[in-house]
Symmetry: C2
Subunit: 230 residues, 2 copies
DNA sequence: AAGTTTAAGTTAACGCCATTGACTAAGCCA
DNA sequence: TGGCTTAGTCAATGGCGTTAACTTAAACTT
């Protein structure tokens, strides 16, 4: 029963990058509740408090994790001349990341990380808008709409996938707590489509949302041409 | 220094409704970190653990708070025959609630509460879509898009308003942590609009997003008419 | 109305967690 | 080689959600 003595990690063997990688491993395998300093220490084969030499607080670490999600999403991305394809691609990448690392996405994807990868992501979206012909203040507003939509939906997807009890074996979602003794006639519209509600494909909803955005940009550009020719 | 003895609360004097009301009061005044069982007990002038007679866990209580946010948003809402106005009105109400109770909104607005008010909200949105002429599976998908957008944006707004250090005295947002030593030339598009980024009006972004949704429904209906006349 | 039952409110405790301060030793520079 | 800096470690702390056992007042029974 003697506590197994761990050899002290050599000086400089830890880094923010390694800690973030370990954290994501834990989140993927055991969910958001498992991400504690104790568990992190075990994963790193280091003292639980060693992390504090690299992050000021848990929140700081989570921001770094979130920024790493941005980095993962952008890895290998190359801008093109097709702004539609770029906006779809960037959205798709965020969505993919949320599906690959749901707990991490639920935890940090709607946070402002203040990190380099987030800045790069901002730049990529703004570039696509610029290529489309959206500039200045308008670009910033549209950027914010896009980010809200893409990151909001992705974070929600992460939460859905990583919260046990919300997803059944077939992978479709349902409500844990049934709307108890309610008169169905009181909520006829909800009642009528209850069965459909359980069978929504989240990725279809997401791509619809993204298409909605792309179309709205197209419309804006069309409107601009009209007013120019007038 | 003797501990002030509180007279025991009489037997049925606590209720889920009163607890939720107290919780929202605390969240509004002191932010999400202040919502502890101890603080809640003080607010209710009751034992911290008394809450457990009414909610199975903290998470259950938060779901109830979230459902109350739905109730607040819907209070006084009356459906009309104008589906556009109804969708705007419902979105505006959620947004208003997020601005009035930011910490509560940040905490629970993208949760599935399983409560009655959520069900009523679902019914209201589906009704508006039905009036518009969107039914069945299509209605469910559009409903989900709408909910993701409205609740996602509102929850993000709540998080923004309730996280200290993200909002300056003038009310416009900025990043706490500046993107440290980065070559501006590496992210030219982000760099070019940095000053604009700090001056976005979130409510403008929100109404743009809602208009985008309404317009996309209109377009869908137009397309439907075209294919019918063909 | 008296006795019984039930459960809401209380009390005290437990275990987990993030965080801190003091300690240790490994790499670095003079 | 010897001191200095600091990453890694250890031990302790305070706050938190949660639980079990206890109290007591309302409600039910006959």
């Amino acid at each position: 029963m003697a506590k197994e003595h761990r050899s002290r990690r050599s000086r400089g063997s830890l880094s923010q990058a390694e800690i973030v990688a370990a954290a994501i491993r834990i989140l993927d395998a055991e969910g958001s509740e498992a991400l504690t300093f104790a568990r992190l220490g075990a994963e790193l084969q280091a003292s639980p408090t060693a992390v504090y030499r690299h992050f000021a607080s848990r929140h700081d670490m989570i921001c770094a994790i979130s920024d790493e999600l941005d980095a993962i999403s952008l890895a290998g991305y190359e801008p093109t001349d097709d702004w539609r394809a770029d906006l779809r691609e960037l959205a798709h990448r965020a969505w993919q990341t949320a599906n690959t690392h749901p707990a991490a996405a639920a935890m940090g994807m709607n946070l402002l990380t203040g990190g380099m990868s987030e800045l790069r992501a901002v730049d990529c979206v703004l570039r696509a808008l610029h290529v489309a012909g959206v500039h200045g203040r308008e670009a910033v507003v549209q950027y914010q709409v896009y980010v809200n939509i893409v990151l909001g939906s992705s974070a929600a997807q992460g939460a859905l996938l990583s919260s046990p009890g919300l997803v059944n074996p077939q992978g479709v979602w349902f409500r844990t707590q049934v709307y108890a003794p309610v008169d169905p006639a009181q909520y006829p519209y909800a009642d009528a489509v209850m069965s459909d509600l359980r069978q929504i494909d989240p990725s279809e909803v997401f791509s619809r949302t993204v298409e909605m955005f792309v179309t709205s940009i197209e419309r804006m550009l069309e409107g601009r041409e009209l007013s120019q020719s007038a």
